[in-house]
């Protein structure tokens, strides 16, 4: 059983809850492999995708997950809504709830927005990415994928490479994979790995070659183009030269190391195409697993006593 009506972040979950979500997701993954992929588990419930930031895969993944569970899905898109007329976030959320939403999937550029909504709504709030705080469903689907490929997570050497400072994916992954017993290495330029993180005992590497040695799993992060010109690194070319994943660099990791990416990728910058499309890449499996994990979360949240 989950304790909270909401999924706000990995920080808020216990190890038992993480394991329950992953175990339940395995069952849903079996269903996704069947001819008839839909189950009636949440028929009559309503899911609203409330996305204040652009998203294709996460929003679509939630939509598919919600439909596979037989809920009605409404996509609330910001540019056509009254938000552009100046409606406050709380008013928008209360309106969506009043329309009958049981699940509100929220993505927002400001950290803490899911927490704010959770305090004011009785609907289940699911964080689909808030600012630079967390992206818990991505971390859970990554953990699910690693467990599926490696059979376990405990004891694995997992490298997360790129813009750690601004990445909610990296942070959720650190919390989730650490809780499951993996050892995390963060790799990237010093400007993008906050100094304060070293206090937590996580290994930090600024030299990619050193950081990749003996790694079981590589999680590549998307370099956000808008960071260019802000003084974090001089150019994407220089970034790619130092922290881009190439076959030579990948050869330093373990022979059976897998390569992950939350997408969307900048091919030729943080990852070259031959790796992204190669045999070590599990990037598309991450996408499929995302549906199973999100079904699991919605299913488990629906059982939480209010």
């Amino acid at each position: 059983m989950l304790r909270s009506k909401d999924l706000l972040g990995i920080k808020e979950l216990s190890l038992e809850e993480i394991s329950l979500i992953l175990d339940t997701a395995a069952g849903f993954k079996d269903i996704l492999g069947r001819d008839i992929k839909k189950v009636p588990a949440l028929r009559g419930k309503t899911t609203v995708n409330l996305f204040f930031e652009p998203s294709t895969r996460t929003r679509t993944s939630f939509e598919v997950a919600a439909k596979r569970l037989s809920t009605d899905v409404i996509n609330f898109s910001v540019p056509t809504s009254s938000v552009v007329k100046g409606e406050s976030l709380i008013d928008t959320a209360l309106t969506v709830q009043a329309l009958g939403a049981d699940f509100i999937i929220i993505r927002h550029a400001s950290s803490g927005v899911p927490h704010l909504l959770a305090r004011h709504l009785h609907a289940a709030v699911i964080n689909a990415g808030d600012g630079t705080n967390e992206h818990p469903t991505q971390a859970l689907l990554d953990a699910f994928t690693i467990r599926e490929k490696k059979g376990k997570i405990e004891g694995l050497e997992i490298a997360i490479i790129g813009d750690i400072m601004h990445s909610r994916v990296a942070k959720s992954n650190v919390y989730c994979l650490t809780a499951l017993g993996a050892h995390i290495r963060l790799i990237g330029p010093p400007t993008l790995i906050p100094e304060h993180l070293k206090k937590t005992g996580i290994s930090v590497f600024h030299n990619m070659e050193d950081g990749l040695k003996g790694a079981d799993v590589l999680i590549m992060l998307r370099i956000q183009m808008e960071r260019q010109g802000k003084g974090f690194f001089p150019s994407t070319e220089e970034y790619a030269k130092n922290w881009g994943l190439t076959p030579e660099r990948l050869s330093l990791a373990k022979g059976d190391a897998i390569v992950m990416h939350p997408g969307p990728m900048n091919r030729g910058i943080e990852i070259v195409s031959e790796i992204a499309d190669g045999p070590r890449s599990v990037i598309l499996e991450q996408v499929t697993n995302g549906i199973a994990v999100r079904m699991s979360i919605m299913y488990l949240l629906s059982g939480v006593k209010r």
Partner: protein, 441 residues
């Protein structure tokens, strides 16, 4: 109206009084202060006089039996935001001064970041006029250092000074240009007024909304490092030393800042400093649940900073406790953490929170009154913060043992934004006499 306060424990650091006595107020002035003991008048005799005078109580003379209560000079808050003109939905001169009086204050100095900005004599005149019509305590405006608080051109400091401004600050915004700050510290000397520094290097704080550290990473909120405050404090101290001007450092929040000010004072620099109750009471931990009521600038810091601020108060490095009373409308705080405005509504909790320093043995009660009345008066060179006979009747009578639960819904201030909701505090004003006018609760 005449007010006679009998048998109170009078604490007035300006005269070194810490004894039982009586205070007589007539025509808005302190007519006489009579200290018992030294054989002149015993407690029992005074009690008898009180009994007989209670019978004499007339509509013209109010008798306050202050036995068991403490009588102090009316508190002075040299850093408040009254929001008028321009932001009356947050606070007005009327509600802000009423909240002040409830908190034991009889004088407040209002920062210039109103709309329009108090950067010229007509706005100063408006504030003074409104305060005399609707305010319930003394309001001393602080003028902007630069026109529009833009940090580009000096405002008419001399003219505003004549209209009643007692200090100058671009509070809310630092003066980023070091040359302009130098000029302000030079020019202000002609009018003998302090320049108050909102110390923040905006390029380094870079839009930070909480303290920079592991917590800002954990919460995914943009951090403002302690160094952004310290760099500017150091700049303003050495500019004060260069020019001979007087600089007062507003809302000190970090350990490093305390050290910089302590060293500057040792060198003899003309620097004074204030902190606020939230900086010596709570840490950044208060924002852990994205509580916008704990979003304040400078941000709440760490345990080590809180400890250093307390030490700075104890050893005199920090001269003043001010509230930085920053009321906001509920709707403005009820939103995304990034978007919510900075500020805590502080007038009605300041004394209770500061009393905790006395309880913890960090300050004596008399030292607390120095920091909340006498020292602000000295820095601003106003004839207040004292119970001296002949002075303006600004007197507060407090019950130092009376406990109260902080309930923002009961605040008189329009700003209900406090991270101290539900706290049990001690030390409550029962009577505030502001300019001879009595308010009691």
């Amino acid at each position: 109206m005449n007010i006679h306060i009998w048998n109170g424990h009078i604490i007035d650091p300006s005269q070194g009084i810490d004894a039982t006595g009586d205070i007589f107020i007539e025509n808005g002035k302190i007519k006489e202060i009579r200290v018992h003991g030294q054989g002149s008048m015993t407690r029992t005799k005074s009690d008898k006089i009180l009994e007989s005078s209670l019978g004499d109580q007339t509509p013209d003379t109010k008798i306050i039996d202050a036995k068991g209560l403490v009588v102090i000079p009316g508190l002075i808050d040299m850093h408040v935001h009254l929001r008028e003109p321009g932001f009356e939905h947050k606070e007005t001169i009327k509600t802000g001064t009423m909240a002040a009086v409830k908190g034991g204050f009889t004088t407040v100095c209002c920062m210039p970041n109103t709309f329009p900005v108090n950067d010229n004599a007509s706005v100063t005149e408006f504030i003074k006029r409104k305060a005399s019509q609707e305010g319930v305590c003394s309001v001393l405006p602080i003028g902007a250092i630069t026109k529009g608080q833009k940090g580009e051109e000096l405002a008419e400091i001399g003219t505003m000074r004549r209209e009643g401004c007692v200090a100058f600050s671009d509070d809310g915004q630092p003066v980023m240009n070091s040359l302009i700050m130098r000029r302000a510290l030079e020019y202000s000397q002609a009018f003998n007024v302090p320049i108050i520094s909102h110390s923040e290097d905006l390029s380094l704080s870079d839009g930070g909304v909480i303290n920079e550290g592991l917590l800002s990473i954990t919460l995914g909120l943009r951090g403002s490092p302690a160094e952004a405050e310290q760099i500017m404090i150091y700049r303003d101290i050495i500019l004060a030393e260069l020019t001979g001007g007087k600089v007062h450092i507003a809302h000190v929040s970090t350990k490093g800042s305390v050290e910089l000010i302590r060293n500057a004072k040792k060198r003899g620099a003309h620097v004074t400093a204030e902190t606020c109750p939230h900086y010596f009471t709570i840490t950044e931990d208060a924002v852990r649940q994205y509580d916008t009521n704990a979003k304040v600038n400078p941000p709440l810091r760490t345990e080590g900073d809180v400890e250093a601020i307390r030490e700075g108060l104890q050893d005199g490095t920090i001269d003043v406790i001010a509230t930085d009373h920053a009321p906001h409308h509920r709707d403005e705080k009820l939103r995304e953490f990034d978007m919510a405005p900075f500020g805590i509504s502080g007038l009605e909790t300041a004394l209770g929170l500061s009393m905790r320093l006395v309880e913890a043995g960090i300050l004596t009660f008399a030292q607390l009154i120095e920091k909340m009345a006498l020292n602000p008066a000295k820095i601003l060179q106003i004839h207040k913060g004292t119970l001296r006979a002949g002075g303006c009747a600004d007197v507060t009578v407090v019950d130092t043992n009376r406990e109260f639960r902080v309930d923002p819904e009961n605040f008189i201030s329009k700003g209900k934004n406090t991270p101290f909701s539900g706290w049990l505090l001690k030390c409550m004003p029962l009577y505030t006499i502001a300019g001879g006018k009595l308010y009691e609760w």
